[in-house]
């Protein structure tokens, strides 16, 4: 499955400044592994030491927050758009 991943500004040092990159995988976990293969170091920023999504990062597959879906096991069908976004507070 080929998906596009939207990269937040603070991770673009790992993608050569690109705001959007391609990755492969049937689930979010697979997509993150694929990202890491092509952009070494990025996974450690998104995942904590236990391999879970860091608590201040939001990940969406298409328009769905993966925490409402199946977390790292959320399916990423071919053509999906994955967005990685820092959590925003301040309301």
């Amino acid at each position: 499955m080929s998906v596009t991943v939207r990269i937040p500004t603070i991770l673009r040092t790992y993608t050569g400044g690109k705001a959007e990159v391609s990755a492969e995988g049937a689930t979010l976990a697979d997509v993150l592994r694929s990202l890491e293969e092509n952009h070494a170091g990025i996974a450690a920023r998104v995942l904590d030491d236990a391999g879970k999504l860091r608590r201040f990062v939001n990940v969406y597959v298409n328009d769905d927050d993966v925490r409402f879906e199946q977390g790292l096991q959320t399916p990423t069908p071919d053509g999906s758009a994955v967005s990685v976004i820092p959590a925003v507070a301040g309301g």
């Binding site: 500004t9 976004i85 820092p86 925003v88």
Partner: protein
Amino acid sequence: MAVQSVEPSTTSVDLGPAAALSCRECGERFDLGPIFACALCFGPLEVAYELPADGSEALRKRIEDGPANIWRYAPLLPVPADVADKPSLNPGLTKLVKADNLARELGVTGGLYVKDDSGNPTHSFKDRVVAIAVEAARAFGFTTLSCSSTGNLAGAVGAAAARAGFKSCVFIPHDLEAGKVVMAAVYGGDLVGIEGTYDDVNRFCSELIGDPLGEGWGFVNVNLRPYYGEGSKTLAYEICEQLGWRLPDQIVVPIASGSQLTKIDKGLKELVALGLVEDRPYKIFGAQAEGCSPVARAFKDGHDVVRPVKPDTIAKSLAIGNPADGPYVLDIARRTGGAVEDVSDPEIVDAIRLLARTEGIFAETAGGVTVGVTRKLIESGLLDPSLTTVVLNTGDGLKTLDAVAAGPTVTIRPSLAAFRDAGLAAV
């Protein structure tokens, strides 16, 4: 508690005592700039200060001699020293109302106060945070002010931008209360309704910041968030000053993203560290609406993680289903011996009416949430009625009129006979 103090930033940005940004999660430090998330762990960035070296007496006098608004606390905020001379809405120093009638109604004997932030220029506490963000926007050279908002913030940004000479473009869920939409639109900036919830709006704005379409825009609650959040500390400063430089025993704060509650705690701790108030225990309680209560749920279940929810409540200004500061709220409530509680929509409306008929304060739905939660906390024994308690009203009921639809007690012809027949006469 040691107040953070670091070497001055090497940048030329003048934001007064602000020296750097520090990650609340991992402690990594960054130069002052329009950034909000840690590049290592995504943790929220906070302002770290070089705080005043004055002794506590001198600092207290400096504050008391300052302007009658938040700029009296400029030595403790990320703003330039001459901030009071710049065009601003000058929010703050709102009333701390001694609510004796409400206290009798709720059975509070230790002194009950309502910090009524509906008295700010656009009638909500958001004027405080926006005023600080405006100074950061000036310092970083932004010309357009923006935000994602549940309504109050949109109005505050529109008004502050107009006064300070910025363009503005604000984003809101398309189905907000009419009063808030009108207030957001009237100041002349662009107002964009987004088809979705506040969390959808927030996500959209976060993506816009990383895109050339949003280049040069200062989003007060996104890329200016570390500075913006500091404005909420002024609530803590004012409450203590208005109590005669004394910490309240208990304080009840509404929770949207949780930022306000965490910054009130930060402000109280700073006052202690600076010797401006005596160090003594205080409890902080969080208040949510049942229809959006992920933090209250986590508190009651004993969890450290806040599971996001899809909001469904009349308290739209608190309808943030994914509260980023939720874990910190849990930490603070537990550390201070407080709690996080929620109330239903009918309880919110009852509480709005209770505050109005006892103290003459017409609160927006968020104020109903804090008063309703206070009542519930007293009933459950979690809040001690024999202690000094401060309840926050963060906004004006005129913005959420629909929540308490009400009309005349009775409608009559203009005659004394009709008045007598209506049964309202004294005799």
